[in-house]
Amino acid sequence: MKPVELHVERGRLKATGDGSWVGEAPYGGLEDLAETVGTLSREMPRARWGRRPSVRITIHPPVAQTRTLEGLPSLRPGDLRALVAEQASRFFRGSRDELVTNAGRQPGTSGNVVRAAAVDRHTLELLIGATRDSGLSVGSVGTPVDGAWLELLPERERAEQRRRRLRSLALHAAVVALAWLATAGWYVASLRTERQRLDRELAALRPATTALASLDRESRLAARMLQAVEVSRADYLRLLAQLHAVILALPDSAYLTTVSLSARGPGSVTGMARRPTEGLSAFRAQAGLADARLKTAGPHIPTPQAPWGEFTIQFGKDTVK
């Protein structure tokens, strides 16, 4: 947004506002200066919302007195301003108490050249007061001297401006902090609400889940018990099947003396045969005894003195872990 400017010339006020707005109004003397400022301000287009527009007031000579001073001692800027203010009546028309002054060294000049400006305190206060009364805020008051800007806003006003800026900053910070606090508070409150809702829901579900868990536990236990009995039954059937397989596998040319069977381990048979290897083949031919192996065997060729040879056949694997 383009800043609003108010130019104070002798007998005339000019104002430039937002966009291309330009206003001009004459004034007779100090007595109607405030009213003229008010008139111009009212005509100035303004945004309906937002901050009060800040005005830069430029006081042109001869309303402001400007001087180029030479021969002043080489001083720091603050001291130089104090010196000019102290000796205002020496450099400007009017007394020290009636004037608001400012001074600054002119950059880019050789030697000790100082620019100085002064404005009548009463005029200045009138301008500032009228501007404020019109709903505008005074950003700066000064006069151009040799192309450079010399600020003429009184120290009291500057301090006031600083205070206002600080207050505004503090207000903004407080608003932001409050917004954050409100957001955080809302979030925490929603968390607490959700937590309470979940607690209530879990409490309502507890009897059902406890009953289900108990049922599940009982069900698992029952399944394990049934399985254990089933395993016993399966062991019995396996062993019976082995015994049948042994009986069926035994050839006519052999007989058994010992049968040893185990539901979970290897089994063995011991017996007598004319040809033990024949017995082994018959065993291997039986389902369930396919892995039968000859453990010990008597003489391969039976003699009339010993027509039968002893043999031991083993089968099955140890399945006990």
């Binding site: 289900l212 016993s232 062993l239 019976l240 069977l261």
Partner: protein
């Protein structure tokens, strides 16, 4: 105290408060909020799982009902006993009855150490020596399977009483059977 001094003191106080909030208060607050968030997420998951479990409760009930029926059937298949001693006695008694029915002679019965427990069920095992012929032994073994009690046979050893006997001599087999049975214990079920 001048205005400037007051400003310095107030500024220092404000800075201290900001530092305290930045290094202690806010991190703790953030940690607490994160913790609350995690707890709410965990509770939400828990509630979801419990709702699903309850929704599938009908299946569990069906499964439990089916197992209950099987367990009721199992009631008839276990030994009528409440202790190891009673169970061993019952098992020996049943075996003796079966042996007599199939012309087998029960020579001896001795209990074997068995600590197997499944839930309320407890297993007892005996080793028994029987004298019979092959037909009598096979009938006895088949009767074991037909018995309403869930008897288990885990080992069997058969030996001819006299291997050198003539083929015309009567067949005599000495068998050792390791037989197990289950009973319902009064003690707490095993986990």
């Amino acid at each position: 105290m001048t205005q400037r001094e007051r400003r310095v003191v107030l500024g220092g106080l404000a800075l201290s408060l900001v530092a305290l909030a930045g290094t202690r208060l806010i991190p703790r607050l953030v940690h607490w909020v994160a913790q609350q968030r995690a707890e709410v997420a965990a509770l939400s998951q828990l509630a979801l799982r419990q709702r699903q479990a309850i929704a599938s409760g009908a299946q569990v009930s069906d499964s439990a009902a089916s197992q209950r029926r099987q367990l009721e059937a199992l009631g008839a298949a276990v030994l009528a006993a409440h202790s190891d001693e009673e169970a061993l006695e019952e098992l020996s008694l049943r075996l003796g009855t079966l042996a007599r029915r199939h012309d087998a002679r029960l020579e001896r019965t001795e209990p074997m150490a068995d600590s197997l427990r499944v839930g309320f069920l407890r297993r007892v095992t005996i080793r028994t020596a029987i004298e019979s012929d092959l037909t009598g032994l096979l009938d006895l073994l088949h009767s074991l399977g037909r018995d309403s009690t869930a008897l288990g046979l885990s080992a069997l050893r058969i030996a001819a009483a006299d291997p050198q006997s003539l083929p015309t001599a009567p067949e005599v087999l000495r068998s050792e059977l390791t037989i197990s049975g289950w009973y319902v214990s009064r003690q707490e079920p095993s986990p």
